[in-house]
Amino acid sequence: TFTAWCNSHLRKTGPQNQIENIEEDFRNGLKLMLLLEVISGEHLPKPDRGKMRFHKIANVNKALDFIASKGVKLVSIGAEEIVDGNVKMTLGMIWTIILRFAIQDITVEELTAKEGLLLWCQRKTAPYKNVNVQNFHLSWKDGLAFCALIHRHRPELLDYYKLSRDNPLENLNTAFDIAEKYLDIPRMLDPEDMVNSAKPDERSVMAYVSSYYHAFSGAQQAETAANRICKVLKVNQENERLMEEYERLASDLLEWIRRTRPWLENRTTDNTLPGTQRRLEEFRDYRRKQKPPKLEDKAKLENSFNTLQTRLRLSNRPAYLPTEGKMVSDIANAWKGLETAEKGFEEWLLSELQRLERLDHLAQKFRHKCEIHEEWAAGKEEMLRSGDFRKCRLNELKAMKKKHEAFESDLAAHQDRVEQIAAIAQELNSLDYHDVATVNTRCQRICDQWDVLGQLTIKRREGLEEAERILERIDQLHLEFAKRAAPFNNWMDGAKEDLRDMFIVHSTEEVQGLADAHEQFKATLGEADKEYATIIGLVQEVQRLGQQFGITPPDNPYSTLHAQDISNKWSEVKQLIPHRDAMLQQEMMRQQNNERLRRQFAAKANVVGQWIETQLDAVASIGVTGRSSLEEQLKKLQQFDKAVVAYKPNMEELERYNQEVQEAMIFENRYTQYTMETLRVGWEQLMTAIARNINEVENQILTRDSKGITEAQMNEFRMSFNHFDKNHTKRLEPKEFKACLISLGYKIRDDKQGEADFQRIMSIVDPNRTNYVTFDAFLDFMTRETADTDTAEQVMQSFKILAGDKPYITAQILRQELPADQAEYCIQRMAPYTGRDAVPGALDYMSFSTALYGESDL
């Protein structure tokens, strides 16, 4: 093991320097010194090159001195023993060397040498649970410890986890092989020995393990050295990085400051509140978001700088000097400048905001006032311009005037407001409001409008007043018109009526009268015309006024009459006048004509009338005297008759005249008392009288002849008759007749019965009910009185005889006894007999008889 250990060092100097026999090869001390040089890394004094003993002892002594100089007490080890080749001594010395140079130096956590090595082993194998290093003998028997150590440091060299303690031999071999191959640690132990011996040699194990230590810790040292270098480099790098970073940060920061500062120093705004608010927002953003990182950056920068400086100082490097302009002071200054700008900026911004807010508020106020005013003013202009007052009535106008007065007050009240608006506009101007142009425009518009309103108000007032005056004047004219027009209208109506009046006149005097009246009327026309002109003049004046002042004249409230009506009526009246003239003339002519007709008629009528009267008298007088005989009377009457017939043409002529008169609508004729009617009547009377008289006379003749009355009797009767014929009508009225009867001794009661009797008598004398009793009827009655009268009784008796005393009669008997037509007469008129003893065809002659005389049995 020791040999291997030595060789592991010696071969570094060259393979020829390895030993083969530890007892022999160190005898000359050369390899010993070499070994010491190798393992200590120091130079020993030059060995003596001699082969002599004392040369060898000197070299060994040099080696031993060296060892001793390393603080190792070599007790009882002398150079001679070594030169002599004392194995025990040599081995002891080698062990001491190993101990001193391989193990003694081991320092692990303040434990040195063996303990330190042990600790080191424990440390390194700690992760491996199946390894437990407690010593330098048994713990290493299964070889896992070695493997663990290898694996710990160079895991790529073996797959530890495939190993097991059941294969100690393999484990050991594996470990040793690898150590030799890769770690440059020659085999120093024998795996078989290890396995087979109960307790491996502690020193050997220690020596071998220490090789591991040195190999690994060497590696480790290398590592550490590398680390240190790395660390140093890293530190350097870090420092450089820090420097760079600093530089970078510094320039960034400075750049940022450089950029930001002008922005903070920019004290311009767009003069609007939103704009400024936005800037405030930006500022806030800057403060909250942008600056803090920069502040951090600055701090970082400072720290970085300090750290850097400290590090540099600690690592004994020169202090860092930032590039020009990036000094700490520079940065600090720049930052300060920034902060100053910032502060100023914020202050300025806030004051600006305030100002703008105020401005905005003011502008708002302005707008509000303007709105209110504009709202109020809306439509006012139109209203003021309106010519409505030119079209209304007086009372409406007065109301409008009042309204206007009210408006004028309102306007005055608003003056204040307009001034206020202007004042605010002024202020906005002086405060440099951003939208001052709009403000000014609006203000100007309002002020201009205000002026216009003022003017229009005045104009309207004037207009209203003028209109009022005109309307009042018109009103007056209207009133005047009403006062005049009504009576004039009435007068015209009257005149029209009169002028149209259909007159019925019957004489020229009447016509003349009308004509005179008409002339009188015409005389008044002049005045009327004047009145008419005045009235129309009034209306025209109204129109003229209206036109002149552009006012629509209202309707006349006092009168329903229109000028047009008056005019129309007036022209009608005027037309009617000549019309009437014509009419009157016409009428006059007509009347004159009528007069002619009248005369014509009258002349004839008088003649004819006279003639008729004469004739009538003449006729009436016939027989009155009672001297002439009936025949003579008759002849005379017949003569008259002829005369009348001859005279007829005259009547006809008269009729023609009468027709003319009638056609001319002439209803009276003062030239004659005779009317056509009276003449006709007279004529007929005449004719009738003649006819009747003839008839009477004839009847008298008949009566006389039939009754055998003498002329003298006849005359007597005639005398009585004439006596009572008071009015010489040749007839007796019932009164006259009654008187006559009474005078002749008839008693006629003064009651209904008397009247009835008289009536009966009347019916006899006047069967035709003419209500007159003629002479021959009278005569007849007087002469009849003495004779039998046929009464109903007598007739009944006569029938009874014919009927053979039966109460009924048959048609057969009637036909037998009476002439055919009278029999039929009876048969037709007789009612059937309804007595108990009736036979078929029985006729009731009794009721028939009584009925003949107006008598019925009931």
């Binding site: 008839y746 008693k747 009661r749 009651d751 209904k752 019965q753 009247e755 009835a756 009797d757 009536q759 009966r760 009347m762 019916s763 006047d766 009910r769 009584t850 009925a851 005389y853 107006g854 008598e855 019925s856 049995d857 009931l858």
Partner: protein, 93 residues
């Protein structure tokens, strides 16, 4: 010529009633506007219904059953009476 005594004229309602139409009234009607004589009773049959009811000869008939008979013809009056059946009310004077 009938010579009737003077009596003051009074208007009286006479009611004539007979048992049936087989019994005649028993008076003679005279007059009528067609005869120009007033409607009157000419004669009364002795013991007749009309005598019993108070009708007298010479009575002037003013109305038959409330129909005035001033303007009636003889036949009209007769018809009115016959139409009246077994009961008549007459205003007479």
């Amino acid at each position: 010529m009938s010579n009737v005594e003077y009596k003051p004229a009074e208007k009286v309602y006479i009611q004539l009633v007979r048992p049936d139409s087989s019994v005649s009234w028993g008076f003679r009607l005279q007059g009528g506007i067609d005869f120009s004589t007033p409607l009157s009773i000419q004669s009364i049959n002795p013991g007749s219904v009309s005598e019993r009811c108070g009708l007298k000869p010479g009575d002037a008939i003013l109305s038959i059953n409330n129909a005035t008979s001033d303007a009636m013809t003889h036949d009209e009056a007769k018809a009115e009476i016959m139409r009246s059946g077994d009961q008549i009310i007459m205003l007479v004077e």
